[in-house]
Amino acid sequence: MAVPTGTLHLAAAIDAIDGDGQYQAPYYVELARLAEDGALDFITLDDSLGPPGPGRGRLDALAVLARVAPATGRIGLVPTVTTTHTEPFHVSSSVATLDWVSRGRAGWRVEVSTTEAEARLVGRRPAAPAGELWAEAGEVADVVARLWDSWEDDAEIRDTATGRFVDRDKLHYVDFEGAHFTVRGPAIVPRPPQGHPVLAVAATDPVTWQTAARHADVVYIRATSPEEAGRVRDELRRRAVAHGREPGALTVLAAVAVDLADGEGAPGSSPAMGDAPVPLTDTPGGPPLYHGGPVELAELITGWHTADAVDGFHITPVDPRHDLERFVNGSVALLQHRGLFRTFYPGATLRDHLGLSRPANRYAPEREAAR
């Protein structure tokens, strides 16, 4: 049996199901604390510009996780943020601020708005094909990171002798010109604690792959077997290398919807499965579904990780209150017991949890060279 080479990473979605208190803060705080008890790398909260479905609602995901931040201490916070009908400058400010209020635990999952209905909510531009919007999302990711770098870390000097609060040589215009927009800079928000908050892409559709391979720190992929997952990870890493990145710069997580069944969840108790491994069911429009007990889920995670097919899992509990509790107290506890997953957070920031170093500032060398 191959020994897993990398650290196992686990993340969980805390998206609410209707009628479960999803318009109030306590619901999310409770789930975030539960995930933090399991020492998970991060939680995610999905979002879209329009309603999640006819007659349904949801709160702004970045707002919810900002509300969760002071009520938690270590867990990473990754809301979905859309790039199609929003202003890149505002996106940069909001995600940087989430990083400040969480003291270095912010990420964002980039998403586009492809529908005509969403275009009509805003009324500024018509709907466009996903490929075009993902190319633009790549530009947004690029300019957002540049804006984060537009303040050097030591730009604030508070020099009483000269009366200067900042060293303006350490503030930089980004002068970004994309196909669809320009941004002058510098940012309003100083460089966030992590330098660059973590960028995630749900790369479950190949239309996202180019942008994901070029800009993402974390990707979620769709696969129903370790072999398939390994192939997708290889392809994404190959593309990342083509963009001049290290292959390990991408943390690849398998996306799995998790229904941890009824009953006690002891080994072999999952319905209709007997002692056979529980397979993932391919579900159109969503991640593959795992339906079984928490112990078998721990087996599945161990198996995929041992096969070095993925760097970890992003799980979406079907009923968060029920399934996240069983995931943390069942599956994660077992993985911890086996020494496959951390039992506490050795670091403080989301980049620490993911083993990512704090990125250097792209503008500092230019200034040094110009001296």
Partner: protein, 433 residues
């Protein structure tokens, strides 16, 4: 039966990106760390304030083509900070300044409704407008709006946001919306259910005629400039008079000037502290720069401790970008010269004297009496306090003045309801569907 005296409303402004904020003081802490926001917000809530207020910046200010570096520079984004503050406060209202020019109704209505839900009904939006191409350079849309259209866009923006906030029935059913106007043509379904306050509280900042009219038509609070008691009464009467035109009662719009305070153990102690703060606010470099903003030319060769320049200002200058103008430069220059000559003041002394003396200076007893007088005389409904220090700038006021206002019976001794509308005595906007 004795009637209760008119009550004072109080708000706290986070010390901002301007030269009211003193960053050279050894007690001055981070302008960015969440702990600074938490300290000020908790202090305001300890003092039973109505709300906590954050300003906004969308482009770093420039002077003579370079980033202005003498004041505080940079700040986190307001709505996100307020969502986090909702976790560490329970009753305090949470007000964010957000520009109507560089946002769209759907997204912003959604963000404020989310804040209102997550804070249990404590959200407020200070609507500001801008039209400058300078700020526009940070945005997709650029500097697209004529100055004359700023308020028509803002008014239509607020109206559209209210349509969105009203689009869900109170029992939780969304109804489609459609808004067609000069600035916005949008339709669909709003993604956030009706929030605890129905509509977040709307604040309008500014004293212009257009601003007053806009406030009278749609705002719950007007954030105005502080002046003399007489000027305050005239402004108050003018704005309240305008409300009837929109079918609104005088108490539906609260008038809250922004004020600065200096407290001392004796009147002399307070005056001394006030003078020291003014010297901290106007460094020698800031004095020259302030002068350059009026004169519109490079005055870096002048001695801040020497006399004012003998040349006249250039009224067409583009030297200062991203800040509010001081008025007609020639008139201001003439006034400052007269002041300098009359009192024999240097450049720095003139700037200290001519700009922004603190609104209230005195012992806690004297300041409490003055604040109460302003409100009793209908020069204001309350105040937005602008401390000069982060994060401790509100401590003294809350510890020493609030109890005196309570003794006078003009300020609450407990929050009576959970929402900001409750604190302000504003009714639910109702359902217009």
């Amino acid at each position: 039966m004795t009637s209760r005296p008119k009550q004072i409303h109080l708000a706290a402004h986070f010390p901002g990106v301007n030269n009211t904020t003193v960053w050279m003081d050894p007690r001055s802490g981070s302008q960015i760390d969440f702990s600074s926001f938490e300290h000020l917000a908790r202090t305001a809530e300890r003092g039973l304030f109505d709300f906590f207020f954050l300003a906004e910046g969308l482009r770093l200010r420039e002077h003579n083509g370079r980033i202005h570096d003498l004041d505080v520079v940079g700040r986190p984004e307001s709505i996100t900070v307020l969502n986090a503050l909702a976790a560490v406060t329970e009753r305090l209202g949470l007000a964010a300044t957000v520009n109507a020019t560089f946002n769209e109704p759907y997204e912003l209505a959604r963000r404020f409704a989310s804040l209102d839900h997550l804070s249990g009904g404590r959200a407020a939006w200070n609507v500001v407008t801008s039209s400058d191409a300078f700020t526009g350079e940070n945005f997709r849309r650029g500097g697209f709006l004529d100055r004359a259209d700023r308020y028509t866009r803002a008014a239509e923006f607020v109206a559209a946001a209210r349509e969105l906030w009203d689009s869900w029935t109170p029992d939780g059913t969304p109804r489609p919306f459609a808004h067609t106007g000069r600035h916005f043509t949008i339709d669909g379904e709003f993604g956030v259910p009706r929030s605890p306050q129905g509509h977040p509280v709307v604040i309008q900042a500014g004293d212009s005629d257009e601003g007053r009219e806009f406030a009278a038509s749609t705002a719950d609070i007007i954030f105005t400039r502080h002046g003399s008691l007489e000027a305050g009464r005239a402004f108050y009467a003018d704005v309240k008079r305008r409300l009837a035109r929109y079918g609104r009662a005088p108490e539906e719009l609260k008038i809250m000037p922004g004020v600065t305070l200096v407290l001392g153990d004796t009147p002399a102690d307070a005056r001394e502290k006030a003078a020291e703060i003014r010297r901290q606010q106007v460094s020698p470099q800031t004095a020259i720069l302030t002068l350059e903003q009026i004169w519109g030319v490079d005055l870096s060769g002048h001695d801040p401790d020497g006399p004012l320049p003998d040349i006249d200002p250039d009224p067409e200058s583009q030297l200062a970008q991203g800040r509010v103008r001081h008025g007609d430069p020639l008139a201001v220059a003439a006034k400052w010269r007269a002041l300098s000559e009359e009192k024999g003041l240097s450049i720095r002394q003139t700037v200290i004297e001519a700009t922004g003396r603190q609104s209230f200076i005195g012992t806690p007893e004297a300041v409490a009496a003055e604040l109460a007088e302003f409100v009793a005389a209908d020069a204001a409904d309350g105040f937005i306090l602008v401390p000069h220090l982060t994060p401790g700038g509100l401590d003294d006021f809350v510890d020493r003045v609030v109890p005196l206002l309570q003794e006078r019976g003009v300020f609450r001794t407990a929050y009576t309801g959970p929402t900001l509308r409750d604190h302000l005595g504003l009714t639910d906007p109702g359902e217009r569907g």
